[in-house]
Each structure stands twice: as structure tokens, then as C-alpha cells.
């Protein structure tokens, strides 16, 4: 159960919790491993080892790292969900957790599912037995003792190496074996030599052996297909797709969660011959990309919502100049700086409304890592063919989470279509008209350097020959005709992109509507609901502009109940669909606390909506605890921790409050009290002296 969910669902809502997900056994064998610690603890590397091991064994993995905008410290929470079939999201189970510090242990030990295991360094950390859920094993690793022989051979170990021992333990209890993980270590540390490889393999081994003796396995035996699958993030897929499609120029300004596209491009620049330009700001980023586009190379730029806000004027420039350019907008928690390292789908309207005036454009939101590759490859052809800007919307979850993907998804057989480019123009043919009024709306373009084709790409509106119609030679009919020419491209473009299709049973009781990374969660939620007797299908909106309004209207007007599922507050996609089709949703599922939706959470919310149950936005007991933890971390250096939480009514605050007892970490004695409003979440009081002493 996510600790910070806004819409925490009562497990009874979905009817699967406790008895395990009804469809779990049918669909796949799976296990979810959590790793928690502070930034700088190196837990992402441990997650990589685990995930790559599974990827080589033929298992499927989806990992999600919940992190904060801090380089050292803070709280990092990585979940690695492993299954023997395609894993669509990070799920909402937790079968084993590796806790690298005391805070992590307190936060996540209580979240482990029955039958699971809590793994920690028992030399350093203390696990309060009251935090261990029923039926959960604890595996304290006495690191000093376990690593004695390794230390004798390799010398004193760095603290970070405890992670590798813990990963070894997971390999044992999750029945993943040592062999493949050792091969991953060999490849990871190949550049550091045999000694480092041996050290890491030994650490895995001692952890593995200790866990085999001291803990029960948490999974059944797997069938390993040994099909090797790459473990890839959405941003890597976008960058890879771009260069595979012939992108030769990439510009960017560092901004989470888009920066890893820049990193991938820079790291591979010379291998794939792409010119990578880190710019002084996002204004420069997009203007450079457009300049490169005019000069004739396939160009792309990338940013997050804030950077895109700076780019908007230039998007319109690409529109009026009819320049092919691809701009990736990775959404993160907004508004403004918002939640820089958290996910959200709050930028749809920003991207839709980007730039003044009206112009043809493509807006597309890929739904998965494999789709991010395919979409990126395709939009380069569309940008060239229709000579317009493409805005590819991603979100932090899609862009930053890695998952195993079938290698076939990264196809290399790519047909590059540059559209209508004039390579030579005889003077006898008369003047070359860059913006020639054609039936298709597409005018042949020439690249600078082509003889007899000179023209100006202008931000002022212009005639066929690119002479301005804004200043001296204004002409209403020409303005009307060039506007119509530009928009004719959209009619033809719509025919080239696939219309959205319903997925799941045709005769469903409920239709879920979503976009972007949320579709992976919705797909599983639909399965859960269907298995529970609520027949559910879903519609993923990928091509946003141009939009298949007719098809979407037909699908949705036939649906019995329509519920939008989005990681935002205002259900932007639902509003957009209403604008385009006139169809309203019957309900909305939203999440806006920075964390992605989870399948059982969606299923529970959908069942509530179907029952007509109003959404409860009150601070739950678990929320109250989290608010107390936050207050203690920010004001009281974590000397206390919340223990007992009781609701009180008559209290003078005008709303019921949670009264939270705080206990001293060191002594276990009562250390203070806090009151938090049940409706508003306001912190009304904090007393740090022992209550008895007053």
C-alpha cells in the first residue's frame, strides 16, 4: 500500500487483498521487491543488478523509483516488480523489502504483504517488532559476521557494499539463482577488472547463502525462458528511437525528468553521429532545433513542463514556417517548480495551447516504453511529410521508469520518408514557391544550399513565395488561403494515424479512459475489475492532435459507464474529449500527490464510483502518521516517531482532529503529541515535552 496515496483505498473495496489478487495466479507468477534508503546509498545500482538478472533469465520486470530532489539524503524508494509474463506497472504489492537505513525500515516494514520478508543490516538497524505485519519474516543480516571471509580476502568493505549482500539474499528468497546475477556483475564491473568482479560476486554469494539458511523462499520455482530482454527507460527508448529514425541534432537544457534523454544522446553521440547541444536556456534549445530543421536535418529537443513553457513561442514559429521538428515534453508535478522528481499528467492543456495563433501540429502521448520507441520513430516521418512541429508528451513515470522490453520492439528496419524535398530546381521552371498553395496543403520544400530555390522562412505570415503579407502588402484572400492550406495538412494527417480502439471485452459494464503511462495501470485495473465480476474495457488516447473525434465519440457514446483515469487534479483528458466529442465522463479517478496510480487503487476507486460512493478526501490514519513524520523530520531531527493515532472530535478547531502520540526513538518513552485536522490536514499543535511532565 503506498504510504502517501491521496486516494488510499480500503482493501475491502477491491475484494482481492488478503486472498491475493484473484487473477494473480491465472495471469502470472510475480514478486515485488522494494529497496529503500537515502540518495547516495547506491540502491539504484542494486535494483539494476536485480532487474538485469531477471531480464537475462527471461522474466519480465517493471521498476519504479520514487525519489526526491536531493543529491544526498532524503528518501529513495525503489520497487522492482518481477513476473513471468509482461509486467505492466509497478503494482501495489510488496513481497520483500531491503531497508538501508532506520527511517526506511520504519516506513516500509509495515507495508510488506503476508508471506513476505523484511531484509536489513542487523548490525546497524533495529527493527521494532510491532512494525512487522502478521505472517512476515524478518531477515536481519549480521553484515560483519557474514562478510568476514570476504573482508579477509578483499580488505575493509565500503558501506555501499551491504547492498550487494542484500541483493544476494533476495536472489535466494525469490529463487532467482546466483549464476545470472554473477554474469551481470561481471559485465557491470568489466571495466574495473577481475578483482572488483570477484569481490561483488562473493558479496552476492554470502548474502545468498545466509538467506538460504535463515529465510524461507517467497516464490515458487520459476520457469526461465532465458530470452534476454533489455531493461530500458522511456527516455532511453525515445532517444534510441530518435537516432534510429535519423535524428542528427538534439538540443536540451538540463531539467528533470527529461535530462536522461540528453545524457543518453551525449553518451552515444559519436557512436550514432548525432550533434548534441546543451544550450543556455530552453528558448535557445527549441530555436536551435528549429534552425537545424530548416537547414534540413532531423532535429529534436526535450524538456519538462517548465522548460516547455519557455519554448511555446517558438512552437508557433515552427507552425507558421512549416518546419519539421520534434519536441519532447516530459511532465512532472506542477505548477511552477512543483514536484521536480514526481510524476503528473498536468501539462496536456499547456502543450495543446502552446503558442499564440492557430497552426497545424501533432501532439502524441506514447503509452509504454516500447511504444515510446515506435512513436518517436514514426513522428520523424510525419514531421517531415507534413512539415510541422511534433510535441511528444511523456511523463516522469514513463520517461524514468525502466522495464524489460522484447528486443524486437527496438526494430531496426526503419523506412525514412523525408517528404517532399526539392533537390534541384531549373531556373526555367520559374520561381520556386516554398509555400505553394496545393490541394494536399503540403508545399514542396527546399533546403538552404539548393540552387534557384531561395526563400525566407518567416514568422510573419506570407504568400506562396514567402513574401510577407503582414507589413506593406497585406492581402486578406492570401491570408485566408494560406491558413486553409496549412490546415488542409491536418485532414490528411488524420488519415495516416490510427484511431484509438477499445481494449478488453466489448460488452463491458464500464469503460476506463486514460493516456500516457497510466494506461499500463489501467490495463491491469481492468483485469482486476473483470475478474471481480465488473466487466471492464479501456480506451487509451495516444494521438491527441489531430484527434479522431468521430471514432472516439462513437466508442464512448456506446459505453455504459465511462470513467477517466488520470494523474492530475482536473481530468484534463476528460475535458479535452468533451470539447472534441461532446461526451462527458460518468466519473473521474485522479491522483495528484506525485506518485503514480496503482492498479488495485484504480479498481477500488472505480467500484466506489459505480456504487455511487463519494470520494473521501479526509486525512486517513495512515496519512496522519505521514504528516506527523513530515513534521518531525523537518522540525525535530527525527528524534521522535509517531506511534498511536486517535481521532478526537470536540477540540476547538472546528473539525475533528487526529491526536498523534509521539515516541522517543532512543528510549521508547512518550515524547510528545501532535494534532492534525481530519478535513484540512492542518497541523494544529505540536508539543515535544513528555505529556506527563506538563
Amino acid at each position: 500500500m503506498p504510504s502517501s496515496a491521496v486516494y488510499l483505498i480500503d482493501p475491502s473495496h477491491c475484494g482481492f487483498r488478503g486472498s491475493k489478487r484473484a487473477v494473480e495466479g491465472v495471469r502470472m507468477q510475480e514478486v515485488t521487491i522494494g529497496i529503500a534508503g537515502a540518495a547516495g546509498d547506491g540502491l539504484d545500482k542494486s535494483g539494476d543488478t536485480l532487474a538485469k538478472t531477471c531480464g537475462r533469465l527471461g522474466l519480465h520486470v517493471y521498476a519504479y523509483n520514487s525519489y526526491q530532489s536531493i543529491i544526498r539524503g532524503g528518501h529513495i524508494w525503489l520497487r522492482v516488480r518481477i513476473g513471468d509474463k509482461k509486467v505492466l506497472n509497478h503494482g501495489d504489492n510488496l513481497n520483500a523489502v531491503i531497508c538501508l537505513n532506520q527511517d526506511s525500515l520504519e516506513r516500509h516494514a509495515p507495508e510488506v504483504n503476508e508471506g513476505g520478508v523484511i531484509i536489513f543490516n542487523s548490525d546497524k538497524l533495529k527493527l521494532d517488532p510491532t512494525l512487522v505485519p502478521k505472517g512476515v519474516q524478518t531477515l536481519g543480516l549480521p553484515m560483519k559476521e557474514i562478510c568476514k571471509e570476504v573482508e579477509a580476502e578483499h580488505g575493509a568493505l565500503q558501506p555501499i557494499m551491504q547492498n550487494t549482500v542484500a541483493v544476494g539474499a533476495v536472489l535466494a528468497i525469490a529463487k532467482l539463482g546466483l549464476e545470472e546475477a554473477s554474469s551481470v556483475m561481471a559485465d557491470t564491473f568489466a571495466h574495473k577488472g577481475d578483482k572488483v568482479i570477484n569481490l561483488n560476486v562473493s558479496l552476492l554469494k554470502v548474502g545468498y547463502e545466509y538467506a538460504e539458511k535463515n529465510a524461507k523462499a517467497i516464490t515458487k520455482d520459476w520457469t526461465f525462458s532465458k530470452k534476454r530482454r533489455p531493461f530500458v527507460t522511456g527516455n532511453e527508448a525515445i532517444a534510441f528511437g530518435a537516432v534510429a529514425a535519423g535524428c542528427k541534432f538534439y538540443s536540451a537544457y538540463p531539467m528533470t525528468p527529461a535530462s536522461t534523454i540528453l545524457h543518453w544522446m551525449a553518451a552515444h553521440a559519436q557512436q550514432v553521429d548525432v550533434c548534441v547541444k546543451q544550450c543556455e536556456d530552453e528558448l535557445s534549445v527549441i530555436n536551435m532545433a528549429i534552425g537545424a530543421g530548416i537547414a534540413g536535418v532531423r532535429s529534436m529537443c526535450g524538456t519538462a513542463g517548465g522548460g516547455f513553457a519557455l519554448m511555446t513561442e517558438a512552437i508557433g514559429m515552427a507552425g507558421i514556417m512549416e518546419v519539421p521538428v520534434v519536441c519532447v515534453e516530459v511532465q512532472r508535478g506542477g505548477p511552477s517548480t512543483g514536484l521536480p522528481t514526481k510524476t503528473e499528467q498536468g501539462d496536456l492543456f499547456q502543450v495543446y495551447g502552446a503558442s499564440q495563433g492557430e497552426f497545424p501540429k501533432i501532439i502524441v502521448a506514447p503509452r509504454s516504453v516500447a511504444d515510446a520507441y515506435d512513436t518517436t520513430v514514426n513522428v520523424f516521418n510525419l514531421a517531415d511529410k507534413f512539415q510541422l512541429p511534433v510535441m511528444l508528451i511523456s511523463d516522469l513515470l514513463l520517461s524514468e521508469h525502466p522495464e524489460t522490453v522484447d528486443p524486437e520492439a527496438f526494430y531496426s528496419d526503419i523506412k525514412i520518408d523525408r517528404g517532399q524535398v526539392v533537390s534541384e530546381w531549373a531556373e526555367s521552371k520559374g520561381k520556386f514557391k516554398r509555400f505553394q498553395f496545393t490541394e494536399s496543403g503540403i508545399s514542396p520544400r527546399a533546403l538552404p544550399g539548393t540552387e534557384n530555390c531561395n526563400f525566407v522562412s518567416a514568422t510573419d505570415d506570407h504568400d506562396e513565395e514567402s513574401i510577407l503579407i503582414s507589413d506593406m502588402f497585406t492581402c486578406e484572400p492570401i491570408r485566408r488561403k494560406i491558413s486553409e492550406k496549412r490546415f488542409r495538412k491536418m485532414d490528411n494527417l488524420l488519415k495516416e494515424i490510427p484511431a484509438p480502439k477499445l481494449e478488453g471485452p466489448a460488452d463491458a459494464d464500464v469503460t476506463l479512459v486514460c493516456w500516457g503511462s497510466t494506461s499500463g495501470v489501467v490495463e491491469e485495473a481492468a483485469e482486476i475489475l473483470t475478474a471481480a465480476g465488473v466487466k471492464t474495457n479501456f480506451l487509451v488516447l495516444k494521438w491527441i492532435v489531430p484527434f479522431h473525434a468521430k471514432e472516439v465519440q462513437e466508442i464512448l457514446s456506446k459505453a455504459k459507464k465511462k470513467i477517466s483515469v488520470e494523474v492530475n487534479f482536473t481530468s484534463q483528458m476528460a475535458r479535452y474529449i468533451k470539447m472534441e466529442t461532446g461526451v462527458s465522463m460518468d466519473g473521474h479517478v485522479n491522483r495528484y500527490d506525485g506518485e503514480p496510480l496503482e492498479p488495485k487503487e484504480v479498481a477500488g476507486r472505480v467500484q466506489d464510483i459505480l456504487k455511487g460512493k463519494k470520494l473521501d478526501l479526509d486525512v486517513s490514519e495512515e496519512d496522519a502518521k505521514q504528516i506527523a513524520y513530515h513534521y518531525l523530520r523537518t522540525h525535530y531531527a527525527e528524534k521522535l516517531r509517531p506511534t498511536k493515532v486517535v481521532q478526537e472530535s470536540a477540540n476547538g478547531h472546528g473539525e475533528p482532529v487526529w491526536s498523534i502520540e509521539l515516541t522517543e526513538r532512543a528510549t521508547g518513552k512518550q515524547g510528545g503529541k501532535m494534532k492534525v485536522g481530519v478535513h484540512t490536514g492542518a497541523t494544529y499543535s505540536f508539543e515535544k515535552e513528555p505529556v506527563e511532565a506538563k
Binding site: V232, A244, H268, C275, A295, G296, A314, G449, V456, T459
Partner: protein, 292 residues
């Protein structure tokens, strides 16, 4: 180097005549850009003139060349992208003081520190003309304009000092009243390998009644007439600060440095636009393998 075959100035006669106010300094600058392109033998197909927004930024429409008439303040990044995409093009950026030293100054400084191989001609009239007369970044202190009716109390920016200290490797000042010299200065900039900034006094005859032709004619002198050598960094800065009764025209600073293009490894294989698109199969497979 190949011998330069000079082209006549008529080669660059544009499709339409300029719509600047009669007497505008920009006419002289346009003519000088055309002369300079001819002097350097740049074929119109290989000449890309990039501007922002403003009276002077209309220049690409009045010259026979490829042109990009971009957004206000964004001519430099657009030109950067275009030049990195096709280094065979000669890129000349044209615009005004508001465009280059106001809204676009951030890009300008970075392009200069990169020593990008382009030429930037700024038609500096010390006023915003197209918006009918507001103070610009180079307006003198005390000047009354529509936006400073009580007198401008901001200090003007010194473009030459900014250029020299930011890393431009060819820094010059011209005057549209001295067309012969101006043509040579711009030709020098085009021929120069690296970032060339040519700040040009280009009087606005409608909205600037102070910095007029006579104002400059009384004050300007030519550096080459005094035997000035533009190679010393500190002397150049000193010269760039000279203002008042005597204002220098000519190349203030010139040095040979590696350009951005020299250091971009991908460009060693030729202009990007002429490179093959996509990646070879073996590289494609290697990219997949590294993620397993």
C-alpha cells in the same frame, strides 16, 4: 584556400524593395551586406541571412539569399542550429540593438563564448523603432523617449566591450554613413573563422533625433587611419570604451581561436545535413545489447 571569385552586388538584389523609412540607416547596411557577400564570393544558395524581429530584422526579405526571419531575440539560436546542421552555409545574422542586446542578449553572449563561426551585424540605432520609439539597451542616459519621458536613467550597454570579454574573435564597429568601410568590415567578418560581431551605427531618422547622421559624422574616426592594431585584448577593451567627442570605427579586436564547429566531433565527418540518416545495423544491435 580556394581563390575567391567575387560576385557583383546585383547578385543579391532581393525580390522586394525595402520598406524602411526614407533615409533609414538600414539601407546602407543592406547594401554593405550585399557588397560583403559579393566580395567573399558567397553564392546566394550558400548564404543564409537570419534575423529576429524589428525594422532591421526585415532585412532577409530584401536580399537574394536564403533567409530566416525568426522570433524577437532568437536569431542567434536559430542561426546556431542552422549552421551546425549545415556548416557549408555562410550564416549572417542581422538585427537591431533591441533584438540583439535586449531580448536576445543571453543567446548572444553564449554564442560568442562558443566562438561559433557566424557573422552578426547589429543595426544599432539606440532606439526601438518598429514599436514607435522606446528606450533601447544602447540608449544614452538622460534620453527622453516614449517610455522614458523624464529621461532614461539606465546606463547604456557597451556592445563592443561585451563582445570582446564574452569571447567574440572579431569585433568591429561600422557606420551606415561609411558604406565602403562597412562593406569591408562585414566582408572581414564573413571571411573570419569564428564569431564576428559588427555593431553598426544605423540612424533611425524617425524616432531618434539625437543619434543622427550629423551626430556620428562629427565624432567618428577610422582606427585604420591611426595605425591601430586590433590584436591586443586589453588595448581593444580600452578602445571599445572610447566614446564622446571621438568614436572609433573599424576592427577593434581580432584573434584566431578554435571555433565551436572545430571541436564538435560529429562535424568531422562533414556537414550534418549531408550525413547518412539512421544508424547501421551493428550499432543498432550494440545499443540493445548494452541495455541487457
Amino acid at each position: 584556400m580556394a581563390t575567391v571569385i567575387e560576385l557583383p552586388v546585383e547578385t543579391y538584389k532581393g525580390p522586394v524593395d525595402p520598406d524602411w523609412c526614407p533615409g533609414c540607416g538600414d539601407f546602407g547596411v543592406l547594401r554593405s551586406v550585399q557588397t560583403a557577400a559579393g566580395k567573399c564570393g558567397v553564392h546566394p544558395k550558400d548564404l543564409l541571412v537570419v534575423s529576429g524581429i524589428g525594422c532591421s530584422s526585415n532585412l532577409p526579405g530584401f536580399i537574394h539569399a536564403y533567409g530566416i526571419h525568426s522570433l524577437h531575440g532568437r536569431s542567434v539560436p536559430v542561426a546556431t542550429g542552422a549552421h551546425l546542421a549545415n556548416t557549408d552555409l555562410k550564416v549572417v545574422i542581422t538585427g537591431g540593438d533591441g533584438d540583439g542586446y535586449g531580448i536576445g542578449v543571453g543567446h548572444l553572449i553564449h554564442a560568442m563564448r562558443r566562438n561559433l563561426d557566424v557573422t552578426y551585424v547589429v543595426m544599432d540605432n539606440q532606439i526601438y523603432g518598429l514599436t514607435t520609439g522606446q528606450a533601447s539597451p544602447t540608449s544614452a542616459k538622460g534620453v527622453k523617449t516614449k517610455s522614458t519621458p523624464a529621461g532614461n536613467f539606465e546606463s547604456p550597454l557597451n556592445p563592443l566591450v561585451m563582445a570582446i570579454t564574452s569571447g567574440a574573435t572579431y569585433v568591429a564597429r561600422g557606420f551606415s554613413g561609411e558604406q565602403k568601410q562597412l562593406g569591408e568590415l562585414i566582408a572581414g567578418g564573413i571571411a573570419h573563422k569564428g564569431f564576428a560581431l559588427i555593431d553598426v551605427f544605423s540612424p533611425c531618422v524617425t524616432y531618434n533625433k539625437i543619434n543622427t547622421y550629423p551626430y556620428f559624422k562629427e565624432r567618428v574616426y577610422k582606427l585604420e587611419d591611426e595605425g591601430y592594431e586590433p590584436t591586443d585584448f586589453y588595448k581593444a577593451i580600452e578602445k571599445a570604451y572610447e566614446w564622446g567627442d571621438r568614436i572609433p570605427l573599424g576592427v577593434v579586436y581580432k584573434t584566431e581561436q578554435e571555433t565551436y564547429e572545430d571541436n564538435e566531433p560529429v562535424l568531422k565527418k562533414g556537414p550534418l545535413v549531408k550525413q547518412k540518416l539512421g544508424i547501421p545495423k551493428n550499432v543498432h544491435q550494440a545499443l540493445i545489447d548494452e541495455m541487457i
